[in-house]
Symmetry: C2
Amino acid sequence: MGKGEETKQAIVDEALELVSKVGLEKLTIGALAGATGMSKSGLFAHFRSKEQLQLQVLAEARERFIEIVIVPALKKPRGEARLRAIFESTLKRWEDELPGGCVFHAVSAELDDQPGPARDYLVETQRALADTLRRAAEIAIEEGQFRKDLDLDQFVFEFGSITAAYHHFGRLLGDPAAEQRAHNMFEGLLARSH
Amino acid sequence: MGKGEETKQAIVDEALELVSKVGLEKLTIGALAGATGMSKSGLFAHFRSKEQLQLQVLAEARERFIEIVIVPALKKPRGEARLRAIFESTLKRWEDELPGGCVFHAVSAELDDQPGPARDYLVETQRALADTLRRAAEIAIEEGQFRKDLDLDQFVFEFGSITAAYHHFGRLLGDPAAEQRAHNMFEGLLARSH
DNA sequence: CTGATAATAGTACGACCGTTCGTGCTGTCA
DNA sequence: TGACAGCACGAACGGTCGTACTATTATCAG
């Protein structure tokens, strides 16, 4: 990796941290330059547009999520154990990876009514995650752990609702019991899927 | 209502619509002036600061939520019927009230890591809503509709998770089945509370 | 070591930000 | 009629935004 790529990676890392704290809109070239100790123009040259920078940040977040949550889960046994691994590491490792918590939840509200490449990329990422969950649940059916008539899409919806609520209650309202609540809810979801 | 109050109300109405679409950060004095056909300075004079404008918008949202969701529900019988009324009108009436959907979900992500009066007010509003839900569920226990050992805080958490997921899946991912999923989930929550 | 090239800095730009100020309407009341 | 308050206006402020150009410095193959 040449010097340029190295610097670019460092910028994106810093940017991701900023985004998780202040959101995509307030990720500013000037602020990012200050945080990295670079000049605005020197930093800007790596991306050529703010939109490109935003996309790179989202791509980095996606990569990290796969690395932190998905890859370790794939080493677990197929089915329920894998689902449980995804859930647990999403809550514990992924939400703590960045200072502002799950970056996808942080940006999804500000992109949901603002068409463009950034929104498209986020939606595609979320859909891919939903597919992964769906497939994992399907496997759990094949393995005989989940009942055969389980509604897979409903399962994915309810799974997603838990992490959304965890982010909302834990981060905005500061409820220290949010993690326990989310855990309870997930166990209930699993029990109903048997 | 004097001319001033009338104009101010019209501005706040317009601002609320803007916020639900673009978020609190992008609610700009200039854009709002354009949308209302006023000059920046004339509009600004009504609030004296942007922070005040934001607070007025949040207050308006809170008032409308009470008017649209809470007040009608209070006319329903105590307990489960009331909870059902709150849920149904939150989904159908409240989410459709503004073009960008539930304004609380729209702004909570951008305020959760940004201390200040706006965040404080939002948190207080959400806590008040949570208390209302908690109380309604408590009544359902007293009425013998819910089981006596129901965990009230867990109930509120799960209730909130449904609307959060509805907003997320329906608005960002554009899932047309989100309403049905949310409905299913709510019925499940009620069934488990009996 | 040198010359090409990549990486960064410097400077400037037009647009828009929140905010202030002075001014001119318009209607009320003495 | 004259004084006055309420309301809205245009102009302008200092700042920051994203972005474009140009100059300087660092890197690295030959």
